[in-house]
Symmetry: C2
Subunit: 303 residues, 2 copies
C-alpha cells in the first residue's frame, strides 16, 4: 500500500498522516509547505499546477489517494469562487491518480452537500440541492469521481464531514476563539447559539478516514458523531471548564436568518460499514483542546 495524502499539513491531514504511518503504510504527504509528522515522505506541490500533479503521480504511482486539500479560509470558503478552482483541481487529481494505476480513492466531502431542512442528513438522499458554492462544488466533485470510478474501476468513497474541533484548528474558528478569548480574559460575543450541530473531535474524524482508506467501502459516508448539540452548549462547556462563564455573552451577536436550526447526521453507514463509533466525548475533547491551546500559548509566551 502506497498512499498519497493531500492537505497533509492541515487540521485533519496531519492527524490522518500520523495514523496512516502508524498502520505501516508508505505515506506520501502533499502540501504547499512541508512539515514533519511521523515517517511520511514529503512532496511540496501546488495542486492547481496540473503538470506538476501528473509528474508526481508518474513518479510515485500511489495505490491509494486520500484527498483532503481544499480552500478552508474561515468565513470566506462557503461562497468563495476558489471553490470552482478546487473542484477543477480535484477532478484532475483523480484522473491523474487513476491514469497512473491508482485504485483506492477517499475524498473529503461535507455536510454542506445536503439540503439543510431540519431532517437527518442521509447519504441515500440523492436529490439535495446544496445552498452554498462550497457544498455545490464538493457535491459536483463527488459526482464526477463516482461516475469516473465506474469507468476506470477505481474504488471510491467520500467522507462527508460535519462540525469538528481539536488541536491545530484555525484560531479564528469557534472553539479556539472561545478558548483563547477566555484565556486572555476577554469577553466572547456570541449569537444565542441555539442551533444544533454534530461535533466530532478531529482525532475521531481522522480515524474514520484512515479506516475508510483501509476498507473497500464505496460511496458517500457521513463522518459524524450522531449527537447534535446546541452551539451554546459547546461554548458554555468550554467556559465552565475554564471558569470563564462571566466572559461569555450569548445573544450579543444576531443569528443569521439563513442559519438552519438543525444539521444532524445519520451515522448508520459509518457505524455499520466501518464499525466505527467516536472514542472522544465532547466534554473530554474540549478539555484536551483547552490543555493543548494553553500549552501552545505558554510555549509562545516563553520564547
Amino acid at each position: 500500500v502506497k498512499v498519497l495524502v493531500t492537505g497533509a499539513s492541515g487540521f485533519i491531514g496531519r492527524e490522518v498522516t500520523k495514523r496512516l504511518c502508524e498502520r505501516r503504510f508508505e505515506v506520501h504527504a502533499v502540501a504547499r509547505k512541508s512539515l514533519t509528522i511521523a515517517d511520511e515522505i514529503w512532496h511540496e506541490l501546488d495542486l492547481f499546477d496540473s503538470g506538476a500533479v501528473d509528474n508526481l503521480m508518474r513518479q510515485i504511482k500511489p495505490t491509494h489517494l486520500v484527498h483532503l486539500a481544499w480552500t478552508t479560509e474561515p468565513g470566506q470558503f462557503w461562497n468563495s469562487p476558489e471553490n470552482h478552482d478546487w473542484e477543477r483541481a480535484s477532478k484532475h487529481l483523480f484522473d491523474s491518480f487513476t491514469a497512473h494505476g491508482g485504485k483506492r480513492f477517499v475524498g473529503a466531502g461535507t455536510c454542506a452537500e445536503y439540503e439543510w431542512n431540519e431532517k437527518l442528513c442521509r447519504e441515500s438522499d440523492a436529490d439535495s440541492v446544496p445552498s452554498t458554492v462550497y457544498g455545490q462544488s464538493k457535491l459536483s466533485t463527488w459526482k464526477y469521481v463516482d461516475s469516473r470510478s465506474q469507468e476506470t474501476g477505481a474504488i471510491s468513497a467520500w467522507g462527508r464531514i460535519f462540525w469538528l474541533y481539536g488541536p491545530h484548528e484555525h484560531p479564528s474558528r469557534l472553539v479556539p476563539h472561545v478558548i483563547k478569548s477566555i484565556l486572555a480574559g476577554r469577553h466572547v460575543d456570541c449569537t444565542s447559539g441555539e442551533q444544533l450541530r454534530d461535533f466530532m473531535h478531529v482525532s475521531d474524524v481522522a480515524e474514520s478516514f484512515v479506516r475508510l482508506t483501509d476498507s473497500q467501502v464505496t460511496g458517500p459516508i457521513n463522518i459524524a458523531s450522531g449527537n447534535a448539540v446546541a452551539v451554546r452548549e459547546v461554548v458554555l462547556q468550554i467556559a465552565s471548564q475554564m471558569s470563564g462563564e462571566q466572559l461569555v455573552r450569548l445573544g450579543a451577536l444576531p443569528t443569521k436568518a439563513s442559519e438552519p436550526h438543525v444539521v444532524a447526521a445519520d451515522v448508520q453507514r459509518l457505524t455499520s460499514l466501518l464499525s466505527f463509533r467516536p472514542s472522544v466525548s465532547l466534554s473530554d475533547g474540549l478539555n484536551s483542546t483547552i490543555s493543548w491551546i494553553k500549552s501552545v500559548s505558554a510555549a509562545a509566551a516563553s520564547k
Copy 2:
C-alpha cells in the same frame, strides 16, 4: 427535612426515593401500592381522594414535596382525558401541602409543554401552546402552582422531562421493547426513526430531581442531556450491543406526519443552576439496561 414523594413506586420515583434516602432525608413515599426501596416510610394513597390527601398532609406535615405521580399509560397518556383528573388532583395536592406548612415543591413537567417547532426548547419561552392534552394539563398545573406559590410563599420548581430510559421502564416502551424482542429472537418493526430526541438515563433524571429538591431554584427547568440523537441510532446501538442488527426493521412502520423532526432541550438552567451534567453516556446506559433486562428475564425464567 421531611420530604413526601408521590409516584414513588414508578420508573423515576423509585430512583428518586432511593437517592433521597441516601441523602439522609426523612422520606415519605406515596403510591397506590407500596414496595420497599431503602429506608423510606410508605403510605398507600389514592391521590384522587382529596380527603385522604388532606389527612396524610395533616399527619406528616412534609416540608418538601416531590410530585411525580401522573398517568403514564404508554400510547394512551398523550391525549387521555385522565390528564384533566391528574391536573385537578395535582392542584389539590399542592394546596393541601402548603396549607399544612409545606414550603419546597418540585413537580414533574414535560417537554410536551413546549411547542415542537424544531427550535431548542427553552424555559424562558412563555408563549408555547402544547399540542397534546398531556402537555396542556402539565403546563396548566405548573401555571397554577407558580401563581399560588407567589401567594403562599412556597418555593416551587418544575422539572421538564424529555426522553428517558433505564431499568424498570414500562416493557412496551421503545428501549425495553427493542431489547426484549432481540433477546427473544423476534423481529423489531420500527419507523425509520430519523427524528432527533434528547435521551437521558433514568438515574441522571432522578439525580437532577434530587438536586432540584435540595436547592432553592424556582421556575421551570429542563431535565435533559443536551444531546439530541436520532431514535434509529438508539435502536441500532441496542441491536449492535446485542449483535441483533439483522432483527431490526427500520422503516417497517410509517412515521406519523405529526411527529416532529426534532425535540431538543436547552440545558443551561440545569447546568448552571444545579451544576449538573449527566454522568451516564447513551452507550453505557443502554449497555446496563440490556444487562438489567437480561438479569430480570433470567430470574423470571428460573422461577
